[in-house]
């Protein structure tokens, strides 16, 4: 760090009042920096005696604009290939029929392969799914408002991606996750099963308002 020297002539010989004012500002800035960095530290650090005692204060200070999470690829790196699939119940002349499962994540893989600048459009399904699991219980019932919203969000992303591949009126939609562990490295003694494990969500009703107009 190098300083930019500032003119000293004009500043020299400040009155007592001016110096006091500067000192007050210095104190305020110092206090603000200490408080801010303390909050950041205890927000990021694992749960401890201080962060538990002042949990509310820390959360109120950091949320919503200063929240941060640096557990990048940690504690475990991504090691699962997960695809989200969807199928629809469609009203046809012959009655209700269920469509085949459609791989919604395939679009994201296509959008990544051979691209130097992949888009954020691969995040809704991937991040939406983990948010969904965090905000739902074992029976896939939402445990918070965020849970209700992310479920609707996932449904709308799914409908946006599948509506062009379905003929007829979609009345219900169902999502499932197909997860397969990345095979262990060749030099490793560990083995993982090559099986795909499915997590199948209940059917969700679809209304015409569930179709986003901004389609790809």
């Amino acid at each position: 760090m190098e300083s930019e020297s500032q003119p000293t002539g004009e500043h020299a010989g400040l009155s007592r009042r001016a110096r006091a004012l500067v000192a007050v500002v210095a104190g305020a800035v110092a206090a603000a920096v200490v408080v801010h960095l303390g909050m950041v530290f205890f927000y990021v650090a694992p749960s401890n005696v201080v962060s538990e005692r002042y949990a509310t204060e820390i959360y109120d200070y950091m949320s919503p604009e200063l929240v941060q999470d640096w557990r990048l690829f940690a504690p475990e790196p991504l090691h699962v290939n997960r695809s989200l699939h969807a199928r629809a119940r469609v009203k046809t002349d012959a009655g209700m029929v269920s469509s085949e499962w459609i791989d919604l994540t395939a679009i994201d893989v296509d959008g990544t392969r051979g691209h130097l600048l992949p888009s954020h459009t691969r995040n809704p399904l991937r991040k939406g799914w983990s948010t969904f699991l965090e905000t739902h219980n074992a029976d896939y019932e939402a445990t918070s408002t965020t849970g209700l919203i992310v479920a609707t969000y996932l449904k709308r992303v799914a409908l946006m991606r599948m509506q062009h591949r379905i003929d007829g009126e979609i009345t219900e939609v169902q999502l499932r996750s197909a997860a397969r562990d990345v095979p262990e490295p060749a030099w490793s003694d560990l083995t993982t099963s090559d099986d795909v494990s499915y997590t199948v969500l209940p059917w969700w009703p679809v209304s015409e308002h569930d179709f986003p107009e901004a389609t790809r």
Partner: protein, 403 residues
């Protein structure tokens, strides 16, 4: 004896933080990096903007409004759910990034940039990644920094005292916008207070520049330096917290312990833009082990290397190189660019001075010259006199967008 020495050192330290802008070069390159990353992102997502953030996208205005009732994050995008408002805000965010990148009226641009970043990111909290998180924080921190003193249009076209008509117009426009937003009931509470406060600070600066000069101006300058230097410290510690926690949390993971962690993401479909390259990189155990352990060691060690300039520079270069690798191999360019931009706060000044000398050769003087150091500085003052402007003995540094 030693007590007076210590007292002198304290006094000198106080002198430095009140009378100088520490890390003026570094904050300037962080500004450029952060603004360029966000600008690149906004342009990249231009075709997908409706799908990601638009009122008719999967996260409709209605859903986003419900979500924001949960955490009250700031976004202007939800002030209206009409299509034209969304387009206007998106274009505004692009222009604000451009202004900050170029260092055009940097202190105002940094606030507009922050509004753009927060508005777009907070519009859809389901899709952000670590890079967005870095940009979010840096956008806030840069508001407090004098990040336009180097490598900026402000530094090239140093404005003269007292006749800053475009500045007054810009201020009035922003003030009018804030007032209108308040009148419509979309802006209130803490953010209204923050914007009003920032407007007041700019107004005070204009007054001391134009009318008082002298001591009030000196006090403003020192207060601004203090805030800037505080922001520099916050950015430094923030990046250290980022690396330290990223490193320490990895240590818990079995794959980081057994040295295979770097292998797995290279086999995940949505993170392999170049599968053949990923396979080649992840084919052998030893390179993967080196990458895995190297990452943890560098991230955990980084804060401590700051005490040794040479080691710090080596580790910094490695971390930047690693993020370039991540950008290409895992297809995370904007994530990597955001983190590299924040890393730039640690670049050595000597390097940045060389860059300045090189760049300065192409574009003329970039950055303020020291008082009386060279003739052009004097001729600027002469020009001011010709215009009949008040002939306050100003330096080029003072004539910057200086709040």
């Amino acid at each position: 004896m030693s007590e007076t020495k210590r007292g002198n050192a304290l006094a000198r330290g106080y002198e430095r933080i009140t009378r100088s802008t520490l890390g003026a070069y570094q904050t300037a390159v962080v500004r450029i990096g952060v603004a360029a990353t966000w600008l690149g992102f906004l342009l990249r997502e231009w075709p997908n903007r409706h799908e990601l953030y638009g009122p008719e996208g999967p996260l409709s205005s209605d859903l986003a409004t419900q979500l924001l009732q949960e955490d009250a994050a700031f976004t202007v995008l939800l002030w209206s759910d009409t299509g034209w408002w969304f387009e206007l805000c998106y274009v505004f965010a692009i222009l604000a990034s451009l202004a900050l990148l170029l260092g055009w009226r940097t202190r105002t641009a940094s606030v507009l940039f922050m509004i753009g970043v927060l508005s777009v990111q907070n519009r859809n909290g389901f899709i952000d990644d670590g890079g967005d998180n870095v940009l979010h924080l840096m956008a806030i921190y840069l508001v407090f920094a004098r990040c336009g003193e180097r490598f900026s249009l402000d530094a090239v076209f140093r404005r003269r005292e007292g006749r800053d008509v475009p500045g007054v117009l810009l201020w009035s426009l922003v003030a009018l916008t804030v007032l209108t937003a308040w009148a419509f009931g979309v802006l209130g509470g803490g953010w209204l207070l923050i914007f009003t406060g920032l407007l007041a600070v700019h107004a005070v600066w204009w007054i001391v520049d134009r009318f008082t000069g002298g001591e009030p101006r000196a006090v403003c300058d020192m207060a601004t330096n203090l805030v800037h230097n505080g922001a520099v410290l916050v950015i430094i510690v923030q990046v250290c917290v980022l690396y330290a926690s990223a490193g320490w949390y990895k240590i818990e993971g079995t794959r980081w312990q057994d040295g295979t962690a770097a292998y797995y993401p290279l086999q995940v479909d949505v993170f392999t833009p170049w599968p053949a390259l990923s396979d080649a990189v992840s084919a052998y155990g030893l390179p993967i082990l080196l990458m895995t352990y190297g990452t943890v060691i560098m991230q955990v060690a980084f804060p401590f290397t700051l005490f040794n300039r040479r080691i710090k520079n080596v580790v910094l270069a490695c971390l930047i190189a690693e993020h370039i690798g991540i950008a290409i191999l895992l297809g995370l360019p904007f994530f990597s660019l955001a983190i590299i931009s924040a890393d730039l706060i640690f670049l050595p000044t000597s390097l940045l001075r060389r860059v300045e000398a090189r760049v300065g050769g192409w574009f003329g003087p970039l950055g303020p010259r020291r008082r009386g150091a060279d003739a052009p500085g004097v001729s600027d003052d002469a020009a001011a006199t010709d215009d009949g402007a008040p002939t306050t003995p100003t330096t080029s540094t003072e004539a910057l967008d200086r709040v």
